[in-house]
């Protein structure tokens, strides 16, 4: 049922031609076809099996207006020629109802000239049967359940494999395509002791099945994390150093990236808006977004506007070096795109990250704990208490309380609060362990002091 690359490129060309016939002065088209499988095992039972093929076509039509271009986005999964013709006409009509925007339009040029092989899939993996992924989930689940007698329940262990082909083309003559895959394994066991019941998780993901962590190891780490939360309690409200572990630190790095997006800058809604070229973080902090890491979960040869992806150093030794920009937000700020356009079939290009990480430091997490007199290790964050306009940060947390270099007891029902601007300046330790579990990664980070609210 899956279409070939040539067939997909023909559909894109047909949509571009239809948009031109309907009166668009410029257009671009994104076609995505995906094949997804997902299985979940709970206890000894296969609980859920899902298989699906999906496709989506998005047309952005631009029509010349008096003082700029009018824009619309139309998307569908119906790829029949007459449906595409109808949709293109609808897109042009819709665009004509909007206002002309002098900034709108395709990139002036600079499209990706070559499509490098970024090792985004392994052709061998296509032949791996669904049963093999069920087996992975079973192994993770069994390893979690067998880890400790206190693990007596779970939300299950889940394995997924997805394949996608992306074709992007525009009316300036660029057409590009690439294939990618992503595989994952996730285990979420429950531990129980007395009245305390706790869940936690561990996961692995990658472009190739061979990138994944061993299934039994995923189950054991998840179980170990759930067990160590047993008997968690709140603590007295205080100020103390806070270590974000390798699972929670990436969310901080992602929040920084959202505050350097060109859109939040020209809208004046980022607390970093007037800080370009300034020192916004401790000198050890270097944050990079690189769309071309071989095998990276965020890698792609070109961005959502056909611009080549690249390595952008956002923060270097504490200094804010660049915004992340697509064509539109770049023009707003008088700058070039940084190849950071993210795009879905149903949405206009927006700024997104690719592979985003904080450069590791010297110390292992164990060493960071050993030298901590008194403080908190955050192992889970809940809630969305972050305001990008002011940098104000306040989130629910669970973790481990440390005194004299030793983990004393698990902590829960607390919040940690501060201002991201102050937090960045007061990062005083960066760990050495950097592991990719998604598109954003970070070693453990220590913030010198945050307000911890508790009992």
């Amino acid at each position: 049922m899956s279409a070939t690359q040539a067939e997909m490129e023909a559909v894109v060309q047909r949509a571009l031609d239809a948009a031109a016939r309907a009166g668009a002065s410029q257009a671009d088209v994104l076609l995505v076809e995906g094949d997804d499988r997902e299985v979940r095992v709970r206890g000894s039972e296969i609980e859920f099996v899902k298989q699906a093929q999906e496709r989506g076509l998005g047309i952005r039509a631009l029509v010349d207006g008096k003082e700029g271009r009018q824009t619309s986005i139309v998307s569908t999964s119906d790829l029949a020629p007459d449906a595409i013709e109808r949709m293109a006409a609808e897109a042009v009509a819709l665009a004509k109802a909007t206002a002309a925007d002098p900034t709108a339009g395709l990139p002036d040029g600079g499209f990706a000239e070559e499509i490098p092989d970024l090792a985004l899939f392994d052709a061998q993996d296509r032949n791996v049967a669904l049963e093999a992924r069920i087996e992975d989930a079973k192994r993770a689940e069994a390893a979690a359940r067998d880890f400790d007698p206190r693990i007596d329940n779970s939300e299950g262990s889940q394995a997924s494999s997805g394949y996608a082909r992306v074709v992007y083309g525009n009316s300036l003559g660029f057409v590009g395509s690439y294939e990618s895959a992503s595989h994952g394994l996730f285990s979420e066991p429950l531990a129980r002791e007395g009245d305390s019941m706790q869940r936690d998780y561990w996961m692995t993901s990658g472009r190739r099945l061979s990138d994944l962590e061993d299934a039994a190891s995923v189950g054991r780490k998840a179980a170990d994390r759930a067990i160590r939360r047993l008997g968690g309690k709140s603590i007295k409200t205080c100020e103390a150093p806070v270590i974000f572990d390798g699972l929670t630190a990436p969310s901080l790095i992602g929040q920084i990236a959202s505050c350097v997006s060109g859109y939040s800058i020209y809208r004046e809604s980022s607390f970093l808006g007037d800080k370009l070229g300034e020192k916004i973080a401790a000198s050890e902090v270097t944050i990079i977004d690189d769309g071309r890491l071989p095998g990276g979960l965020g890698s792609k040869p070109f961005d959502g506007e056909g611009q080549p992806t690249r390595r952008n150093t956002i923060v270097e030794n504490g200094e804010l070096k660049t915004w992340l920009l697509d064509t539109y937000s770049g023009r707003k700020l008088g700058l070039d795109s940084t190849g950071s356009a993210a795009r879905g079939t149903g949405s206009a290009p927006r700024v997104g990250t690719t592979n985003l990480w904080l450069e590791p430091g010297e110390k292992t997490l164990d060493e960071m704990i050993a030298e901590l007199d008194r403080g908190l290790i955050v192992t889970e964050l809940i809630g969305m208490g972050f305001n990008p306009t002011t940098g104000d940060y306040s989130r629910g947390a669970a973790g481990l309380w440390v005194e004299n270099g030793e983990i004393l007891h698990p902590v829960e029902e607390i919040t940690i609060a501060g201002n991201l601007g102050d937090m960045l300046q007061s990062i005083d330790r960066i760990g050495s362990e950097l592991a990719w579990r998604g598109r954003t990664a970070s070693p453990p980070i220590r913030i010198a002091s945050m307000t911890i609210a508790g009992a």
Partner: protein, 487 residues
């Protein structure tokens, strides 16, 4: 499809839509279900969906883009015991449904003889959101003009307003679900939402204010100037208020929650924990608490999918079960969970009309509809006066819960200190954290001013978003942890 549904209305329109446009008749539905039933499965269902969504958005004083999206497809599910097989296709046809059925049934190995499925019309019981004009049929030009009015009105409100972002989002969804027991139900669901966000600047300080509203009704209802200007007024007021707001205190204190949107407390603290799947698997902090006290006397919480025009309302759920008004907590005692078919069957109870899904590409799960606490008898002003020092939280952003430990958070977007029983200075960034099975036991006052939210809530679970509503009267909760920065 010969016989009209008992209630007529949206069910008939949806059936006619799928028949006219995609030639889906009873015989073809039965054929696809028969394919699923060739294996040893307990139950199978087909879910057809055709949804149009359009959105028009304004920033920097101009409507920069119009979007229109069509989502269509069929999802097929086969169930055996706790096992579910699911497959979906973006092509609405009997052939696609049969192919998907062949994939979904793979959870069962053995073949089985079965009687052919006889499709019958089920009573959909409600017609909660009849609309004359689908919101997606309102001309885009009208929406554009309206956004320009919103922009001009917001900028005229206060010179500190430096940015206005506004959008009008409209959805029109046709769904049809057919089960292997022959049940066939269809519905047409409208959904509208108007969003206003302003940025206010004063010197170097900038703050955002947001207000939105919507529901399942004609877009025209939002055109009432009192309604949309009220939204803008609120967004501007909150942004200006936040310019004055101080850092929030940290630590445990008595909290008064205002009416309406603060009902998100119920959604996070107890709602998710009372969903049938978590309780069937005993992974919820509320597992095995049925019949026990989980809230203070006087606290009654219901989940009600049958309120006319509400964002969280549904005529039938996404498995074809009519929506209901389900009491979850009766005068402090846990009396009900929310169920879909699968979990109800496994727990030996009736489905409650809470089996919902984001789209045809998603399997149904037990989900909330409109969740709220019934009004009490206290005067809201008296409730505030009863607190010497604490926090008064009026509006919230998002929240989240850990079902298993029961710990939940929600973040205030408008809150004040309470000083000597009086509303004091505004504070920003207050996050509240608590323990679900225990927090409602510390409700000491319940106001007579129950209000439902404005109609903007979306609940996420297992990566699926569905529209929901919440509601609350003014209540006092003792000893809740407030996560600010001031000791």
């Amino acid at each position: 499809m010969s016989s009209p549904d008992a209630n007529g209305g949206s069910a008939d329109r949806a059936l006619a839509f799928f028949q006219d446009r995609f030639s889906l008749d009873d015989a073809s539905l039965a054929t696809a279900l028969d394919t699923a039933l060739e294996r040893q499965v307990d139950y199978a269902d087909l879910y057809f969906e055709y949804t149009t969504t359009d959105s028009v958005s304004l920033e920097e004083g101009i409507v920069k883009s119009g979007d229109r999206h069509l989502e269509q497809g069929v999802g097929v599910r086969a169930v055996r015991g706790e096992r579910q097989g699911y497959a979906h296709s973006d092509d609405i046809s009997v052939e696609s449904a049969r192919l998907a059925a062949g994939t979904a049934r793979a959870i069962a190995d053995e073949t089985k003889d079965h009687a052919p499925v006889a499709i019958k019309t089920a009573n959909t019981a409600h017609d909660l959101y009849p609309v004359g004009t689908a919101p997606t049929d309102v001309p885009v030009a009208r929406k554009v003009d309206w956004l320009n009015e919103i922009d001009a009105y917001a900028r005229a409100r206060d010179p500190k307003v430096s940015q206005v972002m506004a959008s009008i989002v409209c959805q029109h969804k046709h769904m049809l679900v057919a089960g292997s027991d022959g049940t066939r139900v269809a519905d047409v669901l409208p959904l509208v939402r108007v969003n206003v966000q302003v940025l206010a600047a004063d010197g170097t300080r900038r703050e955002v204010g947001y207000q939105g509203a919507g529901g399942r009704f004609e877009l025209e209802e939002m055109r009432n100037p009192a309604k949309w200007k009220g939204l803008v007024d609120e967004a501007v007021r909150i942004a200006l208020l936040n310019l004055e707001a101080e850092a929030c205190p940290a630590g445990a204190m008595d909290v008064v929650l205002g009416p309406g949107w603060p009902g998100i407390l119920l959604h996070e603290a107890i709602g998710h924990g009372l969903e049938g799947d978590f309780n069937r698997k005993k992974t919820s902090a509320f597992s095995d608490k049925m019949g026990q006290r989980v809230a203070a006397e006087g606290v009654t919480v219901v989940d009600d999918g049958t309120i006319t025009g509400r964002r969280g309302s549904i005529n039938v759920d996404d498995e074809g079960t009519p929506s209901k008004r389900n009491v979850l907590i009766d005068n402090g005692i846990l009396v009900g969970y929310m169920h879909d078919r699968l979990n109800a069957e496994l727990m030996g109870v009736e489905p409650t009309g809470n089996g919902r899904r984001e789209s045809y590409a998603h399997v149904p799960l037990p989900r909330m509809t409109n969740t709220f606490m019934l009004a009490g008898e206290d005067d809201p002003e008296e409730i505030l006066k009863s607190v010497e020092n604490g926090l008064y939280a009026v509006s919230f952003g998002g929240g989240q819960v850990d079902i298993t430990s029961g710990k939940f958070v929600f973040s205030a977007s408008e809150a004040y200190r309470i000083e000597n029983g009086q509303i004091g200075r505004p504070v920003k960034g207050a996050t509240l954290i608590g323990n679900g099975p225990d927090v409602l036991k510390r409700v000491t006052r319940i106001g007579h001013d129950l209000a439902l939210d404005e109609g903007v809530g979306t609940c996420g679970k297992d990566g699926q978003g569905v529209p929901v509503g919440v509601g609350l009267p003014t209540i006092r909760v003792n000893d809740l942890t407030v996560g600010g920065t001031e000791g």
